[in-house]
Every structure is written in C-alpha cells, then in structure tokens.
Amino acid sequence: MGELNSSSSEIDLDRPNIEEYLPPDSIKEFHEKLRLRDLLDISPALTEAAGAIVDDSFTRCFKSNPPEPWNWNIYLFPLWCFGLVVRYGILFPVRVLVLTIGWIVFLSSFIPVHFLMNGKDERKKKIERYLVELMCSFFVASWTGVVKYHGPRPSMRPKQVFVANHTSMIDFIILEQMTPFAVIMQKHPGWVGLLQSTILESVGCIWFNRSEAKDREIVAKKLRDHIQEVDNNPLLIFPEGTCVNNHYTVMFKKGAFELGCTVCPIAIKYNRIFVDAFWNSRKQSFTMHLLCLMTSWAVVCDVWYLEPQNLRPGETAIEFAERVRDIISVRAGIRKVPWDGYLKYSRPSPKLTERKQQIFAESVLRRLEEK
C-alpha cells in the first residue's frame, strides 16, 4: 500500500458522484458548429451556482430539525405549559440528582482503583471497564434514554472494528453502556477533554486532530496497532468524521475499511418526536446540548447491530466504505449524500472545479472542429 496509491484513492474520495445529484443540462451534447453565443452563454454555470445558493444537499445534512411545536391553540397551550413545568421543574432536578449520584459512585470507585491497584493486575482493567459502562448507564438515565437494541450483541474478538453513523457524542455513550468499546475521537477542550484524557484512557482511546494534515497516517498506524492487540477493547469508529443530523449520511472515510479486518456496522436512529438529538457543534456547546437533552421528555432511539462485513475480492476500500454506508443508511432509514463531512471545515478540492472546466473546454474545442 504505497503512498501513491493512497493519494490517488484520496482523489476519488474527494470526488463525489455529482453527476447523479445535479441537473444534467450542464452537459449539453450538441454537435453543431460553434457560434459566438455558445461562448458567451454562461447560463448553465450561473444556474448551478444559483441552485447551490438556494438549496444544497450538503447544508441540509447539518440543519437542526427541532420537533414540531404543538402548542398552537387554546387547549394545547396550557397543556404544553404544564409539560414545561414538569420537564424543567421535576424531571430536570431529578435527572441532575441521578447524574450527581452516578458521578459520586463512579469517582469513589474509579479513583482508588485507578491509582491504588497495580497496573498489571487483570482485574483493574475489568473493574475500570465495568465502571465506565456503569457511568454511561447513569448518563443515559439522566436523559431518560430509551434505547432499543436490535441484533446480536458485539462479541469481543480481535481483528474487528465497529462503525456507526454519527449524530452526537451521545452516540458513544449509548453504545458504551452495552459494550466496552475503545474509541477514536477528536480531542475536545474543556471538561470533555479532561474526561477524555483520564477516564476514557481506561477503555482505550485514540486521538486525532482534524486540522493536522499529516495526522491521517499517524492515526492509521495507531488503528492498526490497536486491533492487533488481543485484549484491547473492540474499536468503535465513526467514519463520517463529524456529527450529521440523523436524516442523512455523509461519505465514510476509508481509514476504518483498509485495516484488513472485519467491519461490523451499527445503525443508530433517534426518534425526532421527543428531541432532536443532533449536536450542532456550530450552534451550541456540548454542555448546552446535554442540558437540552436533560430538559426534554426522553431520548428515544434504535440501535441495530448489523451483520459483519468483509472486504470482497476486487473491492477497493472506498467501495467497501460505501457499501457499508449503504447498509447502515438503509437500516436507519436515512438518505445518503455524496459529500465529505470535512467540507464543514475546509473548501472542496480544486479538482472538482477543474473537472467542470475540462468538460467545457473539451466541448468548445470539439465543436470548433465541426465546420
């Protein structure tokens, strides 16, 4: 797997199948003589640009979709007010209490075990993992999480990774309360970062940094090293690389699919009637997001553990990633879009523009030949 190989497949990943999604009139196939108006007529490019300004499938993926307000008449409004009182006045304090108890129980057990027990002791790992699972259950209880798990529970085997669609960091908590996964995450600032570096280390954690260009190779190596170890926790990866609003999936990064091991897909779908679980990191901090969840009625979701997949002969890592994305999207009932999630943070590759330029230039030169 040489360097050249990965850079050419990187081009493929950057290049979505736009032709499937955009109107076909931009590719006119006339074999007529070239006239002045054909050169001056920029209406196809302008139409595409205006179309993108008015609506585009990428921005739609990151749009928050709060539940429909239903307090719109004289009967429902007092009912809604009453609900508000219950949620903020009764449920919220109870949940805060539950969470506080959870933290106390967790920290009073975790800290002694972590610092006093011998690092080599097998039981230390087991206890720490159990405690993390317990803490996650407390978290889930603090939003009255109603999670329905479908499918066989993941087994602890080496040479396998788990992939799931990503809506919010609570995805990890919901999955972690059932099975101790190791996770790969973006390092966050603040109290979340503190949690990441202390507690999550015990279940196994790999860090990445989106903003660093060379990061990909470093992370790929870390991933490979992790799955080789027999008693590491199974690795959970969110190949989208960013939170998406649970109505769409963006393209999966191929990193998880070229490790030479089995990939077990997990599909997560939140029920929007109760709360919009999408963490719109542009709009709110994680703390605000948690508070929003804790003041809603419940977080209801379905988790499907799907059939493990292997790379088929002749399939590239990207095709494998798309195939698994298809499986997850179909199961969760959400739509696929051909965009790289990292476009949230950076501009599209100039190769996409060059492709359009190439099409136009070739058509002009070709029609020039026609007499």
């Binding site: 609506d55 921005t59 330029q357 136009f360």
Partner: protein, 175 residues
C-alpha cells in the same frame, strides 16, 4: 431558540416582493428568507463570502469568484433581487441583463475583449491555452460582425443571446 424566519412580517414580504418586481411568490420569499438565515450564521443581516463559500456546490463552480463579488455583503432584499433573474417568471431580457452584469463587473456598461477572456479563463482553466482562447474569441466575434477592439453593450448581448434554448431557472423549494 431556532429559526428566525418568524421575524418576517407580511409587510416585509410585500416590500421584498415589490423590490424584485413580483418575480417571486410570497411563499418563495419566505423560503428564501429561511435559506438566507441559514447562510447568515451570526445573524448579521447580510451574507459574507465565507458563508457562501461554505456551500461546497457553490465553491466548486468555476464562476464562484466572479459571483462572489456580486453576492458578498448582500442583505436579504438584494439577495432576492439577485436571484430574481432565475425565477421562472423572469423574461429573457432580465436573464441576459444578469449575464451581462457578470461579464461587466466594473459596471461601466461595456464588456471588452479582455472581460470576455477573463470569464473564458474561469470556465476553461488550464484546459485551453491563452492563445487558443484569444483565437476562438476573435474568430467568433469576427464571424458575428464585431471588431476585436470594440466593446459589447447590453443591446449587443441581447441580440447575441436571445434564443429559445437559453434556460436559466432555479426552483425555490417551498415546504
């Protein structure tokens, strides 16, 4: 907390509709406002280049730089006015006027040979040489009866571009 489009009053909608010469329906204007608020992330009241470029489909358009100069800093009324040329109700003259404006960025009413070359450069990139571009353009201008040194005016554009196949329409998604 959430969408700010509830702030658009009936009076506002009618004002915007008048401003764009009734080329959009009231429903379309409401949809456009929702979209405008989505793009204008910090609710400044106008959209900046950065925010428009965050739409990948726009950023990869070869004419994005030219269009950015026209769209940068627009408030909602001007945003709608800009898009009105793409309405199905707009006549061909209004559409050609917009095309002319894209060529004539400095707004002096004249499109010179080098203006057209600039646009052609955006559209073809490195897939045509500068000589090829100049050659094709000179040849076609001559054929159509224009001198290379003369500038094209709006009326010339209308004469050249007014043909039935000119399609420049965008549908505004309405809930």
């Amino acid at each position: 907390m959430g969408s700010t489009y509830s702030m658009l009053t009936q009076y506002d909608i009618e004002e915007v509709q008048e401003y764009c010469n009734n080329l959009f329906s009231q429903q379309e204007i409401v949809s456009l406002y929702e979209r405008f608020c989505q793009l204008d992330r910090n609710s400044k009241g106008f959209i900046s280049s950065d925010e428009i470029l965050s739409v990948p489909e726009f950023a990869m358009n070869p004419l994005s730089h030219r269009l950015l100069k026209m769209v940068d800093g627009l408030n909602f009324k001007d945003f709608v006015a800009f898009l009105s040329a793409f309405s199905s109700k707009a006549n061909i003259r209004q559409k050609i006027e917009l095309i002319f404006k894209v060529y004539d960025l400095d707004g002096n009413g004249k499109v010179t040979f080098s203006d057209v070359l600039e646009v052609l450069r955006d559209l073809t990139g490195s897939f045509m040489s500068e000589e090829q571009r100049e050659e094709v353009l000179s040849h076609l201008l001559k054929e159509a009866g224009y001198a290379k040194t003369s500038s094209l005016l709006l009326d010339d554009f209308i004469k050249i571009l007014d043909y039935p196949c000119l399609r420049m329409e965008v549908e505004i998604p309405v809930d």
